[in-house]
């Protein structure tokens, strides 16, 4: 009973905050509400017994996306006043059509098919062969390894996309991350103490991901956040995007994963097939490299396109 009341409160809050994200007049207020929304959503995922997703949402929704959006909102503040609002008939039509879509999807939830469709037994069968204990990691690296490889490729492509938005003269320059303007502030203290803890947590997330909720992406996000913190506080310079070491770090994870996949042709008879008995060590190697690459890629995605050539 107590659990159900908790869920009702949680859902009511989630919907209230989501409504504020959409209806708020000021963009800044909407962005802060979106950060709160991300935090609440992480709790929802815990209640749905999807701890892996809760970890991802807590790291991305509450942390890095919030940072990106807050930065954009403060830069775009003066453009808000000029925006023209949409006409009332258009709003009404949109509201009616959106309500219809909501009703349709709600009907699917309320009247599910009689036979429950699940892939859990299939996924578990493959999990035993891989030696992993976390079923979600098993799905990501065994059952659907190809999708996971493509997902990492998407991250790299998105980074190339962000970089290519820089003016030509700044290609390969330094990302325009918003750096805190006062050196030796109390923020410096935070970015001296927090990153060592964060790096340990990041490695823990990746390591525990084999058997418990966690994994390369959650670990990589923590690493990215810590790197960004060190750069924002000014302890570490924002690196130039034409640095070869940096670019190598971005692709080392996907490259190793791809190489393991190609070796599968020779040793196990198929792309991304693991040789019997070697599945777990190979997956751990791929995940370790991916954690590093994801950390660097997410950090660079959040840092934005290059905006200048040389350190001031």
């Amino acid at each position: 009973m107590a659990a159900f009341i908790f869920n009702v409160v949680l859902v009511a809050l989630l919907l209230a905050v989501a409504t504020w994200v959409i209806t708020s007049r000021a963009a800044f207020s909407a962005v802060v509400a979106f950060v709160a929304y991300g935090l609440l959503l992480a709790i929802v995922w815990v209640e749905l017994s999807a701890i892996d997703i809760a970890l991802t949402e807590a790291a991305i929704g509450g942390g890095v996306t919030g940072m990106l959006l807050l930065g954009a909102a403060s830069r775009l503040r003066e453009t808000e006043a000029t925006a023209v609002s949409t006409s009332v008939p258009l709003r009404l039509t949109a509201a009616v059509l959106c309500a219809l879509i909501t009703a349709g999807l709600a009907a699917i939830v309320l009247f599910p098919p009689n036979t429950v469709f699940t892939l859990a037994p299939d996924a578990m069968a493959h999990l035993l062969e891989s030696g992993l204990g976390n079923p979600v990691a098993g799905v990501l690296f065994v059952y659907r390894a190809f999708d996971t490889l493509l997902e990492k490729a998407v991250l790299v492509l998105a980074l190339v996309g962000v970089w290519s938005l820089a003016p030509d003269r700044f290609w390969g320059g330094i990302p325009g991350l918003q750096v805190y303007q006062q050196p030796n502030s109390v923020l410096t203290l935070l970015s001296q103490i927090l990153p060592p803890v964060g790096i340990v947590v990041g490695i823990y997330m990746f390591w525990t991901g084999a058997n418990n909720p966690g994994g390369a992406f959650q670990g990589g996000t923590v690493l990215a956040a810590m790197w960004l913190l060190v750069m924002i506080s000014g302890l570490q310079r924002v690196p130039s995007t034409n640095r070869r070491a940096l670019r190598l770090l971005v692709i080392v994870g996907p490259a190793i994963f791809l190489a393991i996949g190609l070796v599968g042709f020779a040793l196990a008879g198929g792309f991304l097939a693991y040789p019997a008995g070697y599945a777990k060590p190979l997956i751990i190697v791929a995940e370790a490299a991916l954690t590093l690459s994801i950390g660097v890629t997410l950090g660079l995605l959040a840092a934005g396109p290059p905006e200048r050539m040389r350190q001031r």
Partner: protein, 95 residues
């Protein structure tokens, strides 16, 4: 022994919950930004601290307990520093 520990948990968690309530009331009712910041940090430090304290007998010893304490210390650290940074911004805008 178990009953005593349970009573301890109930008392500490209830007290922690009370501080969260107090923090919210402060955030909503206090007259200006700096005093509201004051209310926020009390909830951060004491509220979560008491909740963690109360949960200690329920978790696995020693690593589960250490993790809980680590969570509390992390929130302490970042909470206090964020409070400082927000206060700096507020004072600069007021002057």
């Amino acid at each position: 022994m178990t009953a005593a520990l349970n009573i301890f948990t109930v008392l500490a968690v209830s007290a922690g919950t009370f501080f969260f309530l107090a923090g919210t009331v402060g955030l909503l009712r206090f007259p200006n930004t700096l005093t509201r910041l004051h209310a926020l940090t009390k909830a951060d430090n004491v509220g979560l601290g008491l909740v963690v304290f109360g949960l200690l007998p329920l978790v696995e010893w020693p690593f589960g307990a250490l993790k809980l304490i680590a969570v509390w210390l992390l929130v302490q650290l970042s909470g206090s520093i964020i409070a400082q940074l927000i206060a700096i911004i507020v004072r600069r805008e007021e002057s």
